[in-house]
């Protein structure tokens, strides 16, 4: 089934054996589906389309060594937002009512593995019309394999901030109901480890999903994101910036317009230095009949060393009419004239470059509050 490495074989065996012991945590969670999916498709393989530039092998090793359930859950929420960890009885009910079909483990092996090794989970639920006063902060969930479900009911407005601690292998499902607005801030700090995450969002009519994500490098960092526009005037704006001094970051993004009349924006700014390697696969899919969709993707990359590598590939699949779709990806270097200008005013060379790099990244993270939360501005 899986790739031929010893790690993959060992992980596959461990996953197929997971049954009784896994059911200790959140026994209601549907692991059967995950097991079936992996039995059918196997684990991700290096060089397969979605893993062209990333060898999952170190991740298998990390997954094999991962710990089980933990109690160190650190989530803060403003009044009115309901937070239930997966071991609380009402979590099962909230999950059953709101989790949708976007995280099909057959399509997302990361979700399947995550489901089988699940050790921590939380549901964040904003009832209809709630205007949350402060962000929900997710600072830690304890176990290595984590699942977060965020639900913004009709008309609700909510910000969720994920800070980097214990951010090992996390699946985040975001359900944005009609007219709701979810602002999702994610900070991923530099790490010598191996971290995979999968974000899946669905946006109903008139709803809005806004992601602002700032990533540093890890030995292996994989960020998968799928978002689905499910109704007219639904919008998704993906803003992702990364700054790699070293390490590996692989972003796999797919926005699909399932219904017409929606808008999606993808804005990427990446800086790769040292011996780092950054990958961006940004896909826009417009389903048959999703007429009048409006989608765009821009990706700008800066290389700050001769040994860094960037692979950026936008992909479009358009099956509808009257569609607006624009995309562009560039790779460049810092403006040396600007560096000299700053230095000529007494600013040291590394500070000058840092100032320019932060300004470049801020083109993606434009929201001031978001930039502050993500540590991009003072």
């Amino acid at each position: 089934m899986a790739g031929s490495t010893a790690e993959a074989t060992a992980l596959a065996r461990r996953l197929s054996e997971r049954g009784e012991d896994a059911a200790r945590y959140a026994p209601w969670f549907d692991r059967g589906r995950c097991r079936e999916a992996l039995a059918g498709n196997g684990l991700p393989r290096f060089h397969a389309e979605a893993w062209r530039h990333t060898n999952p092998r170190p991740w298998y090793a990390a997954a094999l060594g991962a710990n089980g359930g933990g109690a160190d859950v650190r989530v803060q929420a403003p009044p009115g937002v309901d937070v239930a960890t997966f071991d609380e009885p009402r979590a099962a009910d909230l999950f059953a009512r709101h989790s949708g079909d976007i995280l099909d483990p057959a399509e997302h092996p990361l979700a399947a593995v995550n489901g089988l090794l699940l050790g921590a989970g939380v549901v964040v639920h904003a009832p209809a019309g709630l205007q949350a006063a402060t962000p929900v902060r997710i600072d830690g969930l304890g176990a290595a394999f984590q699942h977060v479900l965020v639900v913004a009911q009709p008309g609700a407005a909510l910000t969720v901030l994920e800070t980097p601690s214990a951010f090992a292998h996390r699946v985040v499902e975001c359900v944005v109901a009609a007219g709701a607005r979810l602002t999702h801030l994610r900070r991923q700090d530099a790490s010598g480890g191996c971290e995979c995450s999968l974000v899946a969002a669905t946006v109903a009519e008139g709803g809005r999903y806004e992601l602002a994500q700032l990533s540093k490098g890890a030995a292996l960092r994989r960020n998968d994101l799928v978002a689905r526009i499910d109704g007219p005037n639904a919008g998704a704006h993906i803003r992702a910036a990364w700054r790699l001094d070293d390490g590996h970051l692989d972003n796999q993004v797919r926005i699909s317009h399932a219904e017409g009349g929606g808008t999606s924006r993808q804005t990427y700014r990446g800086v790769a230095g040292g011996r780092s390697r950054a990958v961006l696969n940004g896909a826009i899919h417009i389903a048959p009949g999703a007429d009048g969709s409006d989608a765009s993707l821009t990706a700008k990359n800066l290389l700050t060393s001769a040994t860094a590598q960037v692979f950026a590939k936008p992909a479009l699949e358009i099956n509808a009419s009257d569609v607006k779709c624009a995309h562009g990806a560039t790779v460049g270097a810092l403006d040396e004239e600007a560096v000299l200008y700053l230095r000529s005013r007494g600013i040291g060379e590394s500070d000058a470059r840092d100032l320019l790099v932060r300004a470049f990244l801020a083109e993606a993270i434009v929201d001031e509050e978001g930039a502050r939360s993500l540590g991009l501005s003072g």
Binding site: L342, R343, S344
Partner: protein, 248 residues
Amino acid sequence: MTLLAVENLHVEVDGKPILNGLSLAVPAGQVHAVMGPNGSGKSTFANVLAGRPDYTVTAGSVAMDGEQLLDLAPEERARKGLFLAFQYPVEIPGVSNMEFLKAATDAQAKAAGQQAPSAVEFIGRARQAAADLRLSADFLKRGVNEGFSGGEKKRNEILQLLLLRPRLAILDETDSGLDIDALKVVAAGINAFRAAHNAVVLVTHYQRLLDHVVPDRIHVLAGGGIVRSGDKSLAHALEAKGYGWLDS
């Protein structure tokens, strides 16, 4: 006391000689103008002083306050009090003018072992300097030179001069592209800066600026060196007769 001493400076770009034996001494408290035909090397000279890396100095020396400059990085020269107003200031989108000015001020204060001004105090100073130069406070919020008109960029250079208070200001055609009123405003800024302990080198093509900022000496740069020096009347002679007159 000689603030700037340039001796026998030879400079090449891509193996092409541009300056061959330029010497110039500017005492503290003085304003010297450097004039000369297009392409004669005035900006090259200014940029070599500031430390632009594209130029190769093949011979000669440059000292400020008796200290050799040529081995120093651009930022070290700036921290010692050298300031170049660029002929073509660079646009830096995304870095606000205020953030840039504060970063420069802080870096220079730190190098001098002084305490940096507080944010509130600095904002007050920057607003005052902008007002003196008839620049609206909006220019402090915009990206550095981003979308500024030619004349606004030049005024922004003088804004930096007023805030950074260098020992030696080299102004490369800061008067070019200024309208009549802006020229007066910029000249007033330069005059306000003039003091017994600092010096100014004005690179210009026009007598006009020199009516407002009266130089102590005028030098003509041609053929890679200073071919003529004189008092302010030299500018009138050049204005009337052109550079060809010097060859005769």
